[in-house]
């Protein structure tokens, strides 16, 4: 095709005549660059594989009296609040509960009120039961509870089950 210039109709004509080859041309380009694009997407979207869980030593059980609580910084950056409720939970077999002490409302730190047996957030008055369920304040309105952590007690040692960082 030796022409000085051409217009859109020429392109259309030419495409119509070489449909099969042109189709193959487009398809091969699409396939190759498409796969490449998929790799680029996989690159930026972090993998969704379930993170491995491991247990982190939190403290000694004889150092957290019933009614007391202790804040522990986890390697993931979250802070965990572990409290000794004094009552044995029939499901877990121990007296400890642990939650992320980050209030689901705006992230203020909650603390354990031993006398009332509930978690209190000082910022806007969010209140959570000993099971971390929001019952008052903005968290209750949006139904967002404290994130719980599973606690293992082996002998005198307390461990929290966390996701590997």
């Amino acid at each position: 095709m030796n022409q000085k210039s051409f217009n859109a109709n020429d392109i259309v004509d030419w495409v119509a005549r070489r449909k099969f080859l042109f189709g193959g041309f487009l398809a091969s380009l699409a396939a190759a660059y498409g796969v490449f694009a998929s790799y680029a997407l996989k690159f930026v979207f972090p993998a969704r594989k379930p993170p491995r869980r491991t247990r982190i030593f939190i403290g000694f059980s004889d150092q957290i009296r019933p009614g007391a609580s202790k804040a522990v910084n986890l390697p993931s950056g979250d802070q965990l609040l572990i409290s000794n409720t004094g009552r044995i939970n029939p499901v877990t077999g121990n007296t400890f509960v642990a939650f992320s002490n980050s209030c689901p409302h705006l992230g203020c730190k909650v603390h354990w009120e031993a006398r009332r047996e509930e978690f209190l957030c000082p910022c806007h008055g969010g209140v959570f039961t000993a099971d971390g369920i929001a019952v008052a304040g903005p968290p209750a309105q949006s139904g967002s509870n404290l994130k719980p952590y599973e606690i293992l007690v082996e002998g005198n040692s307390i461990y929290a089950v966390v996701e590997e960082v």
Partner: protein, 491 residues
């Protein structure tokens, strides 16, 4: 080049590109399958310690990082934290810590092991102040100073760097809160710690990685259980157990770090010290009381069953029969019942031979000499004292241990042979000399009493060969056997 050709070239190139992308996906998939080992977790309270000590003492941090503790975030503070009132606590970079980590500290998590260990003979290894060995270390070899109140103010280096490194020192905290250099560093297994607990877990479980494989290795026990007076390590290496372990060690080692190491289940041969003396079997739980499966005590001049002392003191302990049964339970992981039963008969016979032929007679004669005043009150200033000491403390033990742990060379040539030579060629002549000396200095009656007893002993069946009184029948048999034997050689 025509358009069609160009398009075909493009299709071809795109296909090549596509194929390389497939290879990229394959390479990526291969990498994903590699599972990363969990890293050490440095929690916020340990971060400062780790950051500084990583530079100042990188070995310590490196050891900890590969430990099981580190995987769960158990770090410096968990073990080294001290409480107000701890005599060895001090402030370090804003924290109250103690250098010494005692079994009491380990017991915070490892309660059962610590309790078993505290009850064991290992934990009382440091209480040797009254022993003869201690006299040797502090008086004969070294020199100690006492103050007016009778407190030791200068220790014997022979003890500090020698005996006590295995047996354990009594750690002293000085006025200024620092640890007395004569007592620290020390990881002797019977260490007396400032917090009142006895023992040191790190005697066997080397810090800071506390590896199980290392604790199970025979070299571990061999740090202390070796040498002329109790060559358990050398005997083990001579024994078939040791040979089997050595031959299969490289195959076992990767698995020895696992929690369970049960004979018959995880390995089929070559037990190490910890396997028989402490380890779990298919029926027995693991114990940190190393005496739980021992029936004889082979330590003293005359061996007795291990519960004899307790019974004498009116205490109730696990009987030696029960302990033996437990040990036999371990043996049966690999050995048939008759094998085990017969072996124990051999073992008992060897110990009894030592007791009857050498241990009891020598002890009796020696104590007679001492009681009758034929020896000076000072220990180890006369040859007979060393001779007697060697006899029971060195070759006497070697023979017994060799029999106990299947090391025939130690039983015989390092053992009974040397006992016999010592007894006949040194002990008896030296005793006779002392008796002669006694007669010269007006103690003839005492000398006569002792000589009578000596002659009685020598005339007994066990010893009468020494006096040339072998029975004719036996003499003839020996002569015949000797001639048969000579025919093997040209000489």
């Amino acid at each position: 080049m025509s358009l069609d050709q160009k398009q075909k070239i493009i299709i071809a190139l795109a296909t090549f590109f596509f194929i390389t992308l497939i290879i990229v996906a394959w390479v990526e998939g291969g990498r994903r399958r590699v599972v990363k080992a969990p890293d050490a977790v440095v929690t916020s309270e340990n971060k400062d310690c780790v950051d500084c000590h990583r530079v100042k003492s990188p070995g310590i941090v490196g050891q900890w990082e590969i430990s099981t503790h580190a995987k769960s975030g158990i770090g410096c503070v968990q073990c080294h934290a001290a409480e107000e009132g701890d005599v060895d606590g001090y402030e370090h970079e804003g924290r109250l810590i103690a250098t010494v980590v005692s079994p009491k500290d380990c017991a915070q998590c490892h309660e059962r092991e610590a309790a078993e260990f505290q009850a064991s003979h290992h934990a009382s290894a440091g209480q040797i102040l009254g022993s003869l060995d201690n006299v040797l270390a502090e008086v004969v070899e070294g020199f100690v100073e006492f103050d007016a109140q009778g407190n030791k103010i200068k220790a014997s280096p022979a003890a500090v760097s020698g005996c006590l490194q295995c047996h354990g020192a009594e750690i002293k905290v000085l006025e200024n809160g620092k640890l007395d250099p004569a007592t620290w560093p020390n990881t002797g297994i019977g260490r007396l710690n400032p917090d009142g607990s006895r023992g040191s877990c790190s005697a066997c479980h080397l810090r800071h990685n506390f590896s199980r494989a290392q604790a199970r290795a025979p070299e571990n026990c061999g740090r202390c259980h070796l040498g002329p007076d109790h060559p358990q390590k050398e005997i083990y290496e001579e024994s078939k157990h040791g040979i089997a372990f050595a031959a299969n060690r490289s195959r076992f080692e990767p698995m020895m770090e696992e929690k369970e190491w049960i004979p018959g289940k995880h390995f089929e041969q070559g037990p190490t010290c910890s396997v028989c003396h402490m380890g779990a079997t298919k029926n027995l739980p693991i114990t940190h009381d190393v005496g739980e499966r021992i029936s004889w005590t082979l330590r003293p001049p005359v061996s007795e069953k291990i519960d004899a002392a307790a019974i004498k003191a009116g205490k109730r302990v696990k009987s030696w029969q029960d302990r033996r049964k437990d040990m036999q339970e371990v043996c049966s992981s690999c050995h048939a019942t008759e094998w085990v039963k017969n072996w124990y008969e051999q073992f008992d016979a060897a110990v009894n031979l030592y007791n009857e032929k050498f241990g009891k007679p020598a002890t009796e004669l020696f104590q007679m000499a001492r009681k009758e005043g034929l020896l000076t009150p000072t220990q180890f200033d006369e040859e007979l004292e060393f001779t007697y000491f060697y006899l029971w403390h060195h070759e006497g033990r070697r023979a017994r241990h060799g029999a106990a742990m299947m090391g025939p060379d130690y039983t015989q040539w390092h053992g009974f042979y040397e006992i016999a030579e010592r007894f006949y060629m040194e002990f008896v002549p030296q005793l006779r000399e002392i008796l002669a000396e006694a007669r010269r200095h007006g103690k003839a009656a005492a000398a006569a009493r002792i000589e009578a007893r000596l002659n009685q002993i020598l005339a007994s069946d066990l010893h009468k060969w020494f006096l040339g009184r072998m029975s004719p029948g036996e003499l003839a048999a020996r002569k015949k056997a000797a001639e048969e034997f000579k025919k093997r050689y040209a000489q």
